[in-house]
Symmetry: C2
């Protein structure tokens, strides 16, 4: 049984019933992100509320992603489904990284089998000029209401999220998902002032949006920079990193732990992140946990990094991969088991349930046996 | 003026006119790949015969890629176009990595705006079983004839190429270009014996095909593993590397220099390549040249690695990026300037011509000024 966290963040409004006599709240995720001892490795999966789940698919037959988001009770239910079904140690708000951009003046739709499609892509100084400040309470109250419901209902921490400026910009500029980010990089290289203004405005959007999430009851947040790994490190440093550093600096007064996920193929960017005021960094599957920690200067908790496609394999293969990751993760405090990228629709509910149980069981045994350096059993 | 190479490979049949009294043959590419001194950095571009060139687009209006390949005179002409127009230091055979697979029993087509599409994807042991050995002379004589023509015509080395087994397998299994390689990895994880048999057969295909290229007059070859960077390093080591090592070991008697290009997002795989008997390794743009060399144990020449999307930028931005790469490249012998991935149709002929001239001029000055460690002017 876990003692209440000493970090204090669980004592904020909305969670009072989870502290005191009732001890069922599972704060392992928060403790691990803070590099505190845990009795087993916490697990969650990016895109854990998704099409691999037949019940979710049924809901999606009736409502689009954005329609679900606009109904707080339903969005909260969808958020909680994988917590109940898989036994994961954190919930992630059901939403989309594009959700807030309507509020800054972008018309978009999420098209089935395509992704976000933007009616009027951002390609000029004038386009950037006309972006408005985000109005979270006015335009995105449904998101805050979903967070409030989840804060009352959940017995695991709620992670909320935002898309990072580069990744959001790639959609706004290309107008749709892109393979090579030609237009995005063309704007970046050809009109650096316009680019930096766009990064600044999207940074402001992210800061305001995440601050509102945390005020509404979010227990941690993750900044998703899914596609920034398309940049060479020196371009990342010049065109993106200043905004990432600013976002985390401006939110550093918040007690909730903060995660930056630089997305796929981001191994070369890790050495650039030393000054980002995040608690944890998400790793994709290409970089091993020890190498990732080394590049990060051993400053951060790490989260990851099973190749989601390994979930197509037989269970013993999945577990062999997971075992390697857990063994590496437990070499230092501060490890959260996750994937290296979001779940695919082809993933299986049963395999995910088994994997979650395996991570819990195997890591609990390893920690109890004292195999883990720096991690210890916490009774 | 360059003296003839001492490596001897230029003295093989077909190039006799280029040695002796006539001194115009440009062997800088060969010398750089062999880590020999050069008076300027050699340049070529992956997919340098391509849609960015209006004359090429005109030819493509009349003929498909495969139809061009089947006409040796035309294929040779297309191969030579960028040599004449851009002033690059090597030609790369106009072909497609899928070209040889018809000979092993795969029906495929290259569909405009899609890529290779396979009528009967390989997904079972029986599918792998029915793959035949390649018959280069019988089925691919047009490729050999193209190489023979180019061997007579070119005044720069001809690089030929093959697709590497993982990359070819990804098309054969998925049936078309893929983003996540779900089916490919599923086969690899779920039926490792079938997978290894497929790798073995594709390895045999590559070995026979490239050996025939070299016999016909190819002056170097590159093995393109464009998509293998999708694998975590331990999966690469288990499922792919043994075949890569075998290909280069079995071809190690050939005097021609050999390049392995592990494609995009392959930085984490470089440390695995130490025992590959290649002369040079291609780097994608995410990893810096010094870091790439370090991971490769300083054993190889390196080739790369401008982000092809930088070619959308104004010329001074392109040159600033190129300058950094050249400065890094010249820190050690063995550097060939290239892109980190193939050229896009959106690239511009004029910018490429200017870039090529810039690399030549800037690197010649740096070498002449003795800035380059280990590289020296060769008069």
């Amino acid at each position: 049984m876990l003692a209440p966290s000493k970090t204090g963040i669980m004592e904020t409004k909305g969670n009072k019933q989870k502290w005191g006599t009732e001890m069922s709240y599972n704060d392992r995720f928060i403790r691990a992100v803070r590099q505190e001892p845990v009795d087993r490795v916490p697990v969650w999966y990016m895109r854990q509320a998704g099409r691999y789940d037949p019940d979710y698919r049924k809901i999606k037959e009736k409502y689009s992603l954005l329609e679900i988001c606009q109904q707080p009770e339903l969005a909260a239910e969808v958020t909680m489904m994988p917590v109940k079904k898989l036994g994961v140690d954190a919930a992630i708000l059901y939403s989309d990284i594009m959700n807030p951009v309507a509020s800054i003046g972008i018309d978009f739709d999420i098209v089935a089998n395509v992704g976000p499609v933007i009616a009027n892509p951002i390609r000029s100084a004038a386009d950037v000029e006309r972006l408005k400040p985000i109005d979270v309470e006015g335009d995105l109250n449904h998101v805050l209401e979903t967070i409030r419901i989840l804060d009352r209902e959940l017995e695991v921490p709620l992670i909320t999220f935002a898309g990072a400026p580069f990744t959001i910009a790639s959609y706004l500029i290309e107008g749709r998902p892109s393979k090579n980010y030609l237009r995005t990089k063309a704007l970046m290289y050809s009109e650096p002032e316009v680019w930096h203004k766009l990064m600044h405005k999207l940074g402001d959007m992210v800061i305001t949006y995440l601050r509102a999430h945390m005020a509404a009851g979010g227990k941690a947040f993750q900044l998703f920079d899914s596609w920034v790994g398309a940049l060479a490190p020196h371009d990342f440093r010049t065109f993106v990193l200043p905004t990432i550093e600013r976002i985390f600096a401006e939110l550093s007064d918040l007690p909730q732990p903060k995660i930056y996920f630089p997305g796929v193929a981001s191994g070369e960017l890790l050495t650039e992140l030393h000054d980002v005021q995040a608690n944890a960094i998400g790793l994709d599957w290409r970089v091993s946990i020890p190498e990732g920690r080394r590049r990060l200067g051993n400053r951060f908790a790490v989260q990851g990094n099973l190749d989601p496609v390994v979930l197509t394999a037989p269970q013993q293969v999945i577990e062999a991969h997971a075992k390697t990751i857990i063994d590496q993760g437990l070499q230092q405090p501060g490890f959260v088991f996750n994937l290296g990228h979001g779940l695919f629709p082809e993933a299986s509910l049963d395999k995910l349930k088994d994997l979650t149980a395996f991570v819990h069981r195997y890591s609990a045994e390893a920690i109890a046996a004292g195999k883990a350096e720096g991690a210890s059993s916490h009774v």
